[in-house]
């Protein structure tokens, strides 16, 4: 396998992680997951509803995705730690996408609660993938605590606003020694390509796929965006210049006056 993504010794060939929230049906979701080529998918924990039909776990089993439970909806470190413990019980995994949300309007992370919960969970043996602001110093702190991956946002969850501060994402990827996964804000394939061109190791996409008019088509488009962006990152782009740089030489120009 060329150019694998390695998170906590687990090897992935796909650099697209899919979030399973927001899909109109399990059937639509399954088509989208298959088209995305993703090898890991996030799930949330919610109250049992005996009337619910089908299971997200069935979809992920059939598509061969590793399950990454999240702590979405947790507003305190304590709630997030308890939710991670419940996910470990329900799903038999130590992996957790840690979210500690500070505000229900922006869903921006609470950095203080996030650091607190990350430390507790890492001490308890969890593999923590931390959803964080696009703050290079906070990313470094999360890495130092022992997070297996750091997941800076491009813009608020579900906003589709893309990457609002590409310079900060670049600072984060340049300094990181753990995988950086761009999480939240991706609206379309070009946003995913940009994330990879900025040096991210992977992207996590939920709403942009599940809420697209044609989720499976968008899943494939974003998969290609990720692949193109990753290749471009490795290819070494030309620098940006204010003025033109001719690609045709001036030497040998005829005098046509």
């Amino acid at each position: 396998m060329g150019d694998p993504l390695v998170i906590a010794d687990h090897v992935f060939s796909s650099r697209l992680i899919i979030g399973t929230g927001g899909a109109p049906s399990l059937g639509s979701l399954e088509e989208a997951v298959a088209a995305s080529g993703a090898e890991m998918a996030t799930v949330a924990l919610r109250r049992v509803d005996p009337s619910a039909r089908g299971s997200i776990l069935g979809v992920l089993e059939r598509t061969g995705c590793k399950i990454l439970p999240n702590t979405a909806g947790c507003f305190t470190a304590k709630d997030a730690v308890t939710t991670a413990g419940l996910a470990r019980q329900a799903l038999g995994t130590d992996w957790i996408k840690l979210e500690v949300i500070g505000d229900d309007k922006t869903l921006l992370p609470d950095p203080v609660g996030l650091l607190d919960a990350a430390e507790t969970l890492i001490d308890d043996g969890f593999i923590v993938l931390a959803y964080t602001n696009d703050d290079p110093i906070l990313a470094r702190r999360l890495e130092s605590l022992g997070c297996a991956a750091v997941m800076p946002l491009g813009s608020p969850i579900g906003s589709g606003m893309g990457i609002r501060n590409p310079y900060n994402i670049r600072l984060i990827t340049e300094a990181a020694r753990v995988p950086i996964i761009l999480d939240a804000g991706i609206g379309t394939a070009s946003d995913a390509a940009l994330a990879m061109e900025l040096g991210c190791d992977a992207v996590l996409v939920a709403s942009a796929i599940t809420r697209a008019e044609r989720p499976a088509v968008m899943a494939e488009a974003i998969r290609k965006g990720v692949e193109g962006g990753r290749a471009a990152w490795g290819a070494g782009r030309i620098p940006r210049r204010l003025y033109a740089e001719p690609s045709s030489t001036f030497e040998g120009l005829p005098d046509l006056e």
């Binding site: 979030g19 399973t20 929230g21 927001g22 899909a23 399990l26 979701l29 996030t42 799930v43 949330a44 924990l45 919610r46 109250r47 049992v48 005996p50 299971s55 997200i56 776990l57 399950i67 439970p69 999240n70 979405a72 308890t82 413990g85 419940l86 996910a87 019980q89 329900a90 799903l91 969850i157 579900g158 939240a184 996590l204 939920a206 709403s207 599940t210």
Partner: protein, 68 residues
Amino acid sequence: MNVTLNGHSRSLEEDATVVDAVRLLDPEFSPKGVAVALNGEVVARSQWNDRRLHEDDRIEVLRAVGGG
């Protein structure tokens, strides 16, 4: 005994355990993919049969759903 089960007030026998609460919610439950919190603390599946409930306990029975 009255408890709060997934946000609703429910009545259980005096000697009820966690597994009785789960069964009350879903008689055909499969423990695979399900987790329980009792008054905000995780109860390991191995303790569901033995862990006694008390008046006004808050029980949350959770499973995985779609989420980003």
